[in-house]
Amino acid sequence: MSLLSTEPLRLLASLLLIIAFVGLNAAYLVLAERKGAGRFQNRPGPNEAGYGGWLQPVADVLKLISKQIMVPPESDRLLFRMAPLVVLTPAMMCLAVVPFSDTLVARNVNVGLLMVFSFGSINVMAILLSGWASRNKYAIMSAARVVSQNVAYEIPMLLVVITLLMSTGTLDLSEIIKQQAGGFWHWNFFRLDVNPLAPVTFVIFFICMLAEANRAPFDMAEAESELVAGAFTEYAGMGFGVFFMAEYANIVLGCSLATVLFFGGWQTGLGALPASWGAWKVLIGLGFFLAKMYALVFTVIWVRWTFPRTQFYGLLNLSWKILIPISLFTLLLSSVMIKLFA
């Protein structure tokens, strides 16, 4: 009975926390991106709304909410309205499995990694839905691009994760982090004994994560200068706002996954903390996790404001002809190393 009574409450609370986390993150990552872009370009970025611009996301969201709601005339009304929902929910559900700290995890599923990847590929379908439903030539072209792009980048990502699983042996994210306890040389990023090309696998994982979230050099979906506003051309007001939020939710998910898999999640990397601190350890762990994640998010922003967009064929060639061969090679190398030494 006790399990019954506390568990649903706990689940509800953690789900609300995750929705708040994704919402706040999306709003303030937009501001961080605009201020970051400003800093990269020697200009201050939004600083007139509130002190230093911290009210800018509030202004944007309120404006987007109060915009006129419009569904294009001959478009498929049901699909058009459903697409924004379908794009946001998978990102939020995957975050339920990510361990923010050793006890701060919504629902520790022992096949957590599998769940993340299975839900991760739903947002492709959502963008296809929005592209098809808005009956706009640009939207359909962009939807077609997104599908082939995500398929092309799903494979190297999975190959890289398989090389990792061979050394960790488990799909449970909390378990993976526990294995990386102790000094930071225990993090999978530095575990050269198991996989001598570990940094390369991280770089491939990072590139694939960018392509999955349609970001930076691979933003084929919303290729501003070619396909007007890509799959979101017909969306206005909060419909467009939700797509914006989903993009940032995907980035947060990608970066937190990278942190968990490669940089030891909430491990401090300075050896075990004295047990006497008790509750404080949870907070310190959370702090370290967020710090690593936001460092990766900064890199995503940094990459976006540096590179032009790749050509569509270049994007596919990069995946099929370079990333997949390299990840296959690391898979072979890692399995040989594990067989011989581990």
Partner: protein
């Protein structure tokens, strides 16, 4: 030309309306829509020296659905007039128009007896909220135009008035 007062709202939520107006004033997303020389000054206003991103206005949305401010920067041609009218209609309420440069205000230097190609002023097509004279106006004038639009929206001006010497 003042925009007509919206009498359909019988009950006016003063606080909510003020809050919405303030938030709309602070996040005006312009439509990527440069016609001629003034478009280069509009890009310069987006540049690092004048930086309209301070006012949250640097998100140039290419699709009229997502933009709520149309900056008409350049000469409006009779062949282009129907296209601009369609663009204006595609934009969603609440939307505003800034006529930047003499050509958008009154046809500018291209007005001469029996001229056949230029629409003399964009306010012949749809209501305009702010006029910025100049040929081309400096980027500061465009920022001043955005501040005037925000003053028109929220009723008060939060920035110092700059008198040129």
């Amino acid at each position: 030309m003042e925009t007509p007062v919206d009498t359909s709202q019988i009950v006016k939520f003063a606080m909510l309306d003020q809050l919405l107006d303030l938030s709309r004033a602070n996040s005006l997303w312009p439509l990527t829509f440069g016609l001629a020389c003034c478009a280069i000054e509009m890009m310069a206003a987006g540049g690092p020296r004048f930086d309209i991103s301070r006012f949250g206005a640097e998100v140039f949305r290419p699709s009229p659905r997502q933009a709520d401010l149309m900056i008409v920067a350049g000469t409006v041609n009779k062949k282009m007039a129907p296209a601009i009218k369609i663009l204006y209609d595609q934009m969603l309420e609440p939307k505003w128009v800034i006529a930047m440069g003499n050509c958008a205000i009154s046809g500018g230097p291209f007005v001469f007896p029996n001229q056949y190609a230029v629409v003399e002023g964009v306010d012949k097509l749809f209501p305009v909220d702010v006029y910025i004279p100049g040929c081309p106006p400096r980027p500061e004038a465009l920022i001043e135009g955005i501040l005037t639009l925000e003053q028109k929206l929220t009723g008060k001006r939060r920035w110092p008035v700059v008198k040129s010497d």
